[in-house]
């Protein structure tokens, strides 16, 4: 587009301006924490300073990375399964509305299960391998994705549907041409929320029992009175979540180019 070359630096400036308050508040929090940990006389085995957490994270980076990989794997595989299932079921529900009333109560109940109670049970039933992690990640992410998709289909402009049917389109064509693209904004909103649940779900599953992973690493560090390593692992999981969150935002920009272009001041474009 004509305007993209000129607006790129401006976009970056806007990005910095938007990020500045967040960076400052996080920075301030870290400084306050550092000062408190250093000057209040609290023991580092109770509350380590952020500088110590960072130092220990660097010293133990191999162990942290080694434990992050199974967590990432469980998160991504579990989330992919959940996404596939949510998509398939959302289509079924969209085509056969009565299914919605039959299935949604079950899924809502599944959302009320306390993870604390469920995680050890799932580990008990399915062992210490990848399976229980995938299941727990799927459990916490499936329903939000399903709801997002079903709501998204229903957000389709009524008149677009009427027009397509008048054109001679059947239900399947209407779904592909109108309902599916209409659901995209809802889908990405759901994606951003569930991807953060997914990481938490994976760590919880590992906490309940695993050979390797950030969850079990945290548990061991806590049992060894190493809150600095617990916090280092928390930092890694936070970074992981932020990266996945950023990836979904990037994916949304790529999948919905019209949103980006529309946000720019009304392009007059060529001609006229």
């Amino acid at each position: 587009m004509v305007s993209s070359s000129s607006s790129r630096p401006r976009q970056l400036a806007v990005l910095f301006a938007n990020a500045a308050p967040a960076v400052m508040s996080v920075g301030l929090l870290l400084v306050a924490w550092e000062l408190y940990a250093n000057y209040s006389g609290i023991k580092p085995t109770i509350l380590p300073a952020p500088s110590r957490v960072f130092e220990q994270a660097m010293l133990n980076r191999e162990a942290l990375i080694g434990n992050a990989i199974p967590t990432i794997r469980a998160t991504l595989i579990g989330f992919a399964c959940s996404l596939g299932a949510a998509f398939a079921l959302s289509m079924l529900v969209d085509f056969f509305q009565p299914l919605r009333r039959a299935l949604f109560p079950v899924f809502i109940i599944s959302q009320t299960l306390p993870l604390v109670a469920i995680a050890p049970l799932v580990v008990l039933w399915f062992g210490f391998g990848l399976t229980p992690k995938i299941m727990l990640v799927a459990l916490v992410t499936f329903f939000p994705m399903l709801v997002a998709l079903v709501q998204g289909y229903e957000a389709t402009e009524v008149e677009i549907g009427q027009m397509l049917r008048a054109m001679g389109a059947g239900r399947w064509r209407v779904f592909v041409l109108a309902r599916l693209p209409s659901a995209l904004p809802y889908f990405f909103a759901g994606l951003r929320i569930s991807i953060t649940y997914a990481v938490v779900g994976a760590i919880f599953a590992e906490y309940a029992g695993a050979a390797k992973g950030l969850g079990i690493y945290m548990l061991n560090a806590k049992n060894n009175f190493r809150p600095d390593l617990v916090l280092a692992a928390v930092g890694v999981s936070a970074a992981l979540t932020l990266i996945l969150f950023g990836l979904t935002a990037l994916l949304q920009r790529l999948a919905m180019p019209w949103e980006q272009i529309v946000r720019q001041p009304a392009g007059k474009g060529p001609g006229r």
Partner: protein
């Protein structure tokens, strides 16, 4: 020679009578308007025609009963119903795509019309980048390229501001003189109906029946001074029928 003919069409939703008794006809190359108050069930009529709903009475097209499969109509809804995620070019070819026309062929059919519809240079734009008037023209282009027997226009300019609406009406009248589409327009705008139509059916409030059938004798082009001068009296007369539905002051059928 009438193409579309409705005889005593009725429709009720549950216990609610929406269409009481509608008889009308639209001839080949004729621009006919259905004028009535908001909520009179005008859009219901289009739902019957496009097969989205079923009613009582006879609906004939070229003397054959309308069925769901006989796709005679290209339908333009109240909103422009452009898909925000499709570029203008892909929005205008949508109907052809649904008919199974290949993308290249569909684009080739739309291409020569883009300039006439004031959309040349905007093929790659998204709908949200266009003004309301341009969006309506894109929606109309999407409707006419389907090359169906007849256009159904459901209050297509209702959402536009007054000035844009006047501009698009003028443009549409000019386009119609050129193409002579067989068209049925739903509107509650008296001026719009008079400006565009050959004939007007004035409907009552719900349950809707035809109050009057009016032939518009104005010369075309309608934006000429002569037409504009005569339009005023006709508009006043129609407005009177709409606002005082009981035939008074000797307003009989003409």
């Amino acid at each position: 020679m009438s193409r579309l003919e409705l005889r005593h069409v009725r429709k009720a939703f549950g216990g609610l009578d929406v269409l009481a008794d509608i008889s009308l006809s639209v001839g080949a190359g004729e621009f006919v308007s259905i004028l009535g108050p908001s909520g009179a069930g005008k859009s219901t009529l289009f739902q019957l025609l496009t097969g989205a709903e079923h009613g009582e009475g006879e609906m004939l097209f070229d003397d054959m009963p309308l069925d769901d499969h006989g796709r005679h109509f290209a339908f333009m809804p109240q909103s422009d119903a452009l898909m925000p995620w499709r570029r203008i070019l892909d929005n205008t070819t949508l109907g052809l795509e649904v008919q199974g026309v290949r993308r290249q062929a569909a684009r080739a059919r739309v291409a020569p019309l883009l300039a006439e519809f004031g959309l040349a240079g905007f093929e790659r734009h998204f709908p949200a980048q266009l003004s309301g008037g341009m969006r309506q023209r894109a929606a109309l282009l999407r409707t006419v390229v389907q090359e169906r027997d007849m256009l159904l226009l459901d209050e297509p300019f209702g959402a536009l501001d007054a000035l844009t609406r006047a501009a698009v009406q003028r443009w549409l009248e000019q386009m119609w003189r050129h193409h002579r589409w067989t068209a049925l327009l739903i509107t509650h705008d008296v001026r719009e109906a008079v400006f565009l139509s050959d004939r007007i059916y004035v409907l009552s409030a719900r349950p809707a029946r035809v109050l009057r059938e009016i032939t518009v004798p104005l010369p075309r082009p309608r934006d000429s001074t002569a037409a504009a001068q005569q339009a005023g009296a006709l508009e006043a007369e129609i407005l009177d029928i709409l606002l005082n539905p009981q035939p008074s002051k000797g307003h009989d059928h003409d």
